[in-house]
Symmetry: C2
Subunit: 78 residues, 2 copies
């Protein structure tokens, strides 16, 4: 909706990762330290991930790296 920069999530990658590990959106939320509502909004492109989400993912899943999951680009929110 605007041209501001934001951290983006590779939703497809994350989706696949979670499916392969059999982790539900709800479990994921808990591990990351945010609510299911927050995860869902981010996974469906209604919110950009903030510092709390990014940190939670990287701390909660040590096999994931910033560059794998996130990228830096322009805001794509609807």
């Amino acid at each position: 909706m605007d041209g501001t920069k934001a951290i983006l999530v590779d939703v497809d990658f994350l989706q696949t990762y979670l499916e392969n590990k059999g982790i539900s959106q709800c479990q994921f939320a808990e591990e990351v330290g945010v609510t299911q509502s927050t995860v869902n909004r981010i996974m469906n492109g209604k919110r950009n991930p903030g510092g709390k989400f990014v940190t939670g993912v990287l701390q909660g899943f040590n096999d994931l790296s910033f560059d794998e999951v996130f990228s830096c680009s322009d805001n794509l929110l609807k």
Copy 2:
């Protein structure tokens, strides 16, 4: 002030990097796409870097990586 997770900046690293390159806080701010006030607040630990700052740094300075400049830990704000 609280125990929430946030992205942190390696201020010493960034400070040194900018000094070595002879880049002022103001020039840096412009390159990153935020204001000098925002850069200053982040460099002095009064604000955590947000998505705009992180993205601006990584896009504006291709020789910098997320892992070099940032880390994921608990909020240290005063």
